[in-house]
């Protein structure tokens, strides 16, 4: 597993990395200089990689005593104006929700990676998409949203992690990467981006008040009406994110009867299923949201106009399907195929479902 790391050091432009390593390297090249985490399968390679790479770049790696502590250390680093992140998997992400809510309330940028595993509870360690609601609806307490990016291969987890830091800084809001154990542990070729040299200035950061008035960072607003104003201010920021940051891809959608809608690992399997369907003369296409929040509703509605039926495929009991319904309305038949609890569908399985509907 260390070979990827050695190649990265030699400044090779294309390397073989696991999803964990790619995301970690993408973070470092985006200027992340603080990582705190806690071991949990299937993302253990992430803190291991960071423990070696961070000191090489003059950054900080801390193995925290808990998930709660890890996210609060990230909060501290963000307060200090440093690009910071943590990574975990579902049960750990639940514990981090307190900190994510505070980050959102205090308008602090940070990146959180969730290598989604089967739940609820301790669940299992196999790939799952069961944390879609948690990721896209806020996750913790309070009226807030987190930018959520869903990669479907190792290259994309690298690129999206890099991007997540820029989005988090631009909007002063936490950004999540929602992947799974499949992407976390799979080895693929990755084209590396050059390191980000110029990072945005953060005048709001706490660095000591030399030459300026003291700064404070808070999410507490006790004076009547002030919190309401604060919430509306955050909401208008979310509106800007919705307008500017939607990302998606369409495949084989120009001439299509059945539109598959799927994200992440599952979308990759759906791409294979659609290709198999095409070989059999069934006109299948694929719509893949890359940002799960903001959800690319309008592009999906437009893609769906050409379709006769929609098949939503998820590795859960049906969560993103709610957003599909909100986007396309009731004018078209929407079918669902899901595999919860760590089940991963095969392309043949999905092809069978395409034929059934």
């Amino acid at each position: 597993m260390d070979s990827g790391r050695k190649m990265v050091q030699k400044r090779v432009k294309r390397v073989i990395l696991s999803g964990c390593e790619a995301a970690a390297e993408g973070a470092i090249r985006a200027g992340c200089r603080f990582y705190a985490g806690y071991p949990i399968t299937p993302q253990n390679r992430f803190p291991e990689y960071m423990s070696e790479r961070m000191p090489e770049e003059g950054g900080i790696f801390i193995q925290a005593e808990s998930e709660v502590s890890a996210i609060n250390m990230v909060f501290g680093a963000a307060v200090a104006g440093i690009r910071a992140m943590t990574s975990s998997s579902s049960p750990g992400i639940s514990l981090k929700q307190e900190g994510i809510s505070y980050l959102a309330g205090c308008e602090l940028p940070a990146v959180i990676i969730n290598m989604n595993r089967g739940g609820p509870g301790l669940g299992d360690v196999t790939p799952s998409q069961s944390d879609y609601f948690q990721s896209t609806r806020g996750g913790g307490h309070g009226d807030y949203r987190t930018i959520t990016l869903a990669p479907w291969n190792v290259q994309e987890i690298y690129d999206l992690t890099y991007l997540a830091f820029n989005l988090a800084d631009r909007y002063r809001n936490p950004a999540l990467i929602l992947a799974d154990g499949m992407i976390a542990q799979m080895l693929e070729s990755v084209k590396l981006l050059p390191g980000q040299k110029k990072l945005p200035k953060k005048r709001w950061a706490l660095t000591g008040c030399k030459g300026r008035r003291p700064n404070s960072i808070k999410s507490l607003f006790l004076t009547p009406g002030v919190l309401e104003t604060h919430n509306w201010k955050i909401a208008s920021k979310y509106q800007k994110i919705i307008e500017n940051e939607q990302m998606y891809n369409t495949y084989m959608c120009d001439d299509m009867d059945i539109l598959l809608v799927s994200f992440g690992t599952c979308a990759r399997i759906c791409f294979e299923a659609a290709t198999l369907a095409r070989a059999e003369g069934i006109k299948a296409g694929l719509f893949r949201p890359i940002t799960l929040w903001p959800y690319p509703s309008e592009p999906l509605r437009m893609a769906a106009e050409k379709a006769k039926k929609i098949l939503v495929v998820e590795m859960n009991c049906g969560q993103m399907i709610d957003d599909v319904k909100l986007a396309v309305g009731n004018n078209i038949h929407i079918f669902f195929y899901g595999r919860p609890g760590g089940g991963v569908p095969t392309p043949e399985e999905i092809l069978k479902e395409i034929k059934r509907i």
Partner: protein, 252 residues
């Protein structure tokens, strides 16, 4: 030549002009002032970053005239770790109550000490949850009446109070641990000396320090301010004896 004015006593630069929300007889005002005086005297106001707790001192950023952040309940040592590791030449301190530090944030304080984080912790022990109107705290004395122990704290039902200094003194990574009280002028002076030592240790990169201050909460103790000071002297100090529990600096 004009003779320069010399102040014998004035408001420290490290305090703002804001009026605090604290009740009459509360200890927070005294402890805030001690911290502000120490920061002024050490000339570190412009490079200090404070971490306010959840509890009565939650609005500390309104009272301190330097950079202060909020933190989730119990998490100031983790937040301080993040700040101090990123900005090692700044002075970082947490200000925490007994519920914050010794109940919901027990893991955070123990592990910040174990890592030997170069931070200063001001631990205000008044034996109750003040802001939520006086429930039992991890430091509530046996027999002490609170809103959740109306017949007095019973060890069989409510367990025993935690002695934080004694606990943290066993941790290798901790450098300086002292407990003081503020029920008399000499004790307030001792407290200031201890807090100054804690900040000085951080400036000298000597590592983790914690100063526990036994502090009055007349409102929730249902006592007058003067009765409260007497209660610290007679009751609290006998279960939580003041003193230096660890001092790596003194050991050489």
């Amino acid at each position: 030549m004009q003779k320069k004015e010399r102040y014998l006593y004035r408001k420290p630069e490290s305090l703002t002009d804001n009026i605090t929300i604290y009740c009459p007889g509360c200890g927070h005002g005294i402890i805030h002032r001690i911290i502000a005086e120490v920061i002024d005297e050490l000339g570190i106001r412009e490079k200090t970053i404070g971490i306010a707790p959840v509890g009565c001192a939650v609005l500390a950023y309104d009272y301190f005239n330097f950079d202060v952040t909020e933190a989730a309940h119990g998490r100031p040592p983790a937040v301080a770790t993040g700040i101090k590791r990123c900005l090692p030449d700044r002075i970082v301190f947490t200000y925490q109550g007994d519920g914050d530090l010794a109940a919901i944030g027990t893991a955070e304080i123990i592990h910040a000490a174990a890592r030997g984080e170069n931070i200063t912790v001001i631990f205000v022990n008044n034996g109750v949850y003040g802001m939520t109107k006086g429930q039992m705290a991890p430091t509530t004395l046996l027999g002490q009446k609170t809103t959740t122990t109306t017949k007095g704290r019973d060890p069989h039902q409510h367990g025993y109070p935690i002695r934080v200094c004694e606990l943290l003194a066993t941790i290798e990574g901790a450098s300086y641990i002292e407990r003081t009280k503020i029920d008399s002028v000499p004790d307030i002076i001792k407290t200031k000396r201890a807090i100054k030592k804690g900040f000085t240790y951080q400036i000298e990169n000597k590592g983790f320090s914690l100063i526990e201050v036994l502090s009055p909460c007349p409102t929730n103790w249902k006592k007058s301010p003067s009765e409260s000071l007497e209660w610290i002297k007679t009751e609290m100090a006998s279960f939580f004896p003041p003193g230096v529990y660890k001092d790596k600096g003194a050991q050489g």
